[in-house]
């Protein structure tokens, strides 16, 4: 019963994070387009925009933060694997539980602070300091979502490792942590 619940939680998180991660990839060409647009507007038409600067920074932030959970799912976050690759799988799962817990603490604190900043941004009508002066509140909402997804993913990974440690079996066939380190693929 609990196993089933964990299994469906992990599957649900997997699909959610996968969907968001894949969607974020489409911001990349938009970001490049905005920067090229600014260059063309300024150089060829002598009329720099007031929005490209902040818009490109927002997109940059969205890509960076929102892909964090997907990177965790793909084990793309860089780690030091010297000892890690040479310990028994059960020890490795202990390592994972500990280090993902540290990461989870970090992600939860970011959520907590971002909620604060969101209310502050609403209360005082915080904007960027530029002439365009776009609102800041959505950035903090995005951070809550990004770190929320990251937390869900980390919890899923911790659960899978704990299950493996207790039973010696994988709960989900392709769980990554007992595979080789494959960063950057």
């Amino acid at each position: 019963m609990i196993t089933k619940a964990i299994q469906s939680y992990c599957n649900a998180v997997h699909h959610l994070v996968d969907f968001v991660g894949r969607s974020v990839g489409y911001i990349m060409p938009l970001l490049a387009f905005v920067v090229v647009f600014e260059v063309v507007a300024r150089y060829f038409f002598d009329s720099p925009t007031i929005w490209a600067y902040d818009l490109s920074l927002f997109m940059f932030g969205y890509i960076s933060a929102l892909s964090g959970a997907y990177a965790q799912q793909k084990r793309a976050h860089i780690n030091v694997d010297i000892l890690y690759n040479h310990v028994r799988p059960k020890v490795r799962s202990i390592f994972n539980i500990l280090s993902f817990s540290i990461a989870l603490i970090f992600a939860l604190i970011i959520i907590y602070m971002s909620i604060d900043k969101f209310y502050e941004a609403i209360e005082f009508n915080y904007r960027r300091q530029s002439e365009w002066a776009p609102h800041m509140h959505h950035f903090w909402v995005m951070m809550v979502v990004a770190c929320g997804l990251l937390s869900l993913q980390l919890i899923s990974d911790i659960l899978l490792n704990a299950y493996f440690f207790v039973t010696g079996k994988k709960l989900i066939p392709n769980a990554p942590d007992t595979e080789e380190f494959t960063h950057g693929n």
Binding site: G21, M28, N79, D81, A103
Partner: protein
Amino acid sequence: MGIELLTGVLLLCILVTFAMGAPVGLGLGGIAMIVGYMTWGDGIFNVIPTTLESTFFSFILLAIPLYIYMGQLLTRSGIGDAMFNASQMLIGKIRGSLAISVIVVCSMIGAMVGIIGAGIMTSGSIALKPMLDRGYDKRLALGVIMAGGGLGILIPPSVPMIMFASSTQTSVGRMFIAALIPALITIVLLITYVVVSCKLNPSKAPIGNDAHDEMTPKEKFRTGRDGLFSVLLITAVLGSIITGIATPTESGAIGVAGAVLLAIVFKRFKREIFESAGLSSALLVSVAMWIIFGATVFSNFHLLMGVQNMIAGFTQDLGLPPIGVIIMFQLIMLLLGFIIDEFIIVLICAPLFTPIAVSLGFDPIWFGILMILNIEIAVQTPPYGFALFYLKGIAPPDITMLDIYRSVTPFVLIKLFVLVLCMLFPDIVLWLPNKMMNG
């Protein structure tokens, strides 16, 4: 807790967390928050919003996504390959030629990218497999990619140079020019090493099975043309900076537009390529930014606790002669390179060391170039270095971390030699900018 003890505790935590294989950025951020909570209280959590805003809204760092994206588009559309094949067509007969053209191609990529990761990921994905396939010595192949890819921050444009210039309020343009001669010396020395060591030990680099002789004239023409166009793209990106069309940060976007255009011209533009390039770029950007963010949270906590005063006090109390201080700074940065990434070294050391170096009568540009050369070494020295991990990321699975560690030695020595050379003869760095920018 005194700052010395705190620094010790933090180092120990890093060591343990990294040994467990924790994600570097998240681990650093987590350690800072946990240790911070125990020494400072929950007030330390406030470091998160300000750090988030300063890292995610840094226009200079915007070069990271733009250049990574350009690199991914070049690699996935095969344009990077074209550049490499064309260079092979020209010098394929020389022993070690593949390694030499890798260095040349890496220098060209380095001329465009401003960050180590993009340089190594781009050159590595193009050139590592061909070298291994043709029976090149593993260590030679890995070392060449690592050394060549690292040139990205020495050949302008360079993100760490931009960061150095912004935090020490020196001129970016001057630094870019100052780096040219040291970069050239490094490239020449790397090529010399490859030629000499292949002469001494021919088994390191077997002469290929002359695939290029079997090419029809039409294939040769296509390879040459594609290579030429790739070189033109680099020229266009650099040209857009020089002619005032774009700033160094924006030039990455020009490169993206150019790469898309080339892919369309070469009829290699496919939807899958476009999508996978976007996805993998987003992933790499996120990985880079989470490390930068986590590491900055970590160092901001450490700085708020006063580590800069410790380092500053440490460097002032020694009563060393001026050049001794410079050497000390280099040693500190090399040591920091064992645990901290390139950007944070610049962030911490540039504002801390440069004013001292300047007050001792040294040129800040010269000191900045030494710092860049130093960082290039720091990121590829074991146990901890970003260049090592990027390389591991693109290497085939049978390459172990130990292979990578062993591969770097001769190349690190070459770079160390260049560093010492520039330290002893500042004119290597300063002559060109003084000549070109009239003092």
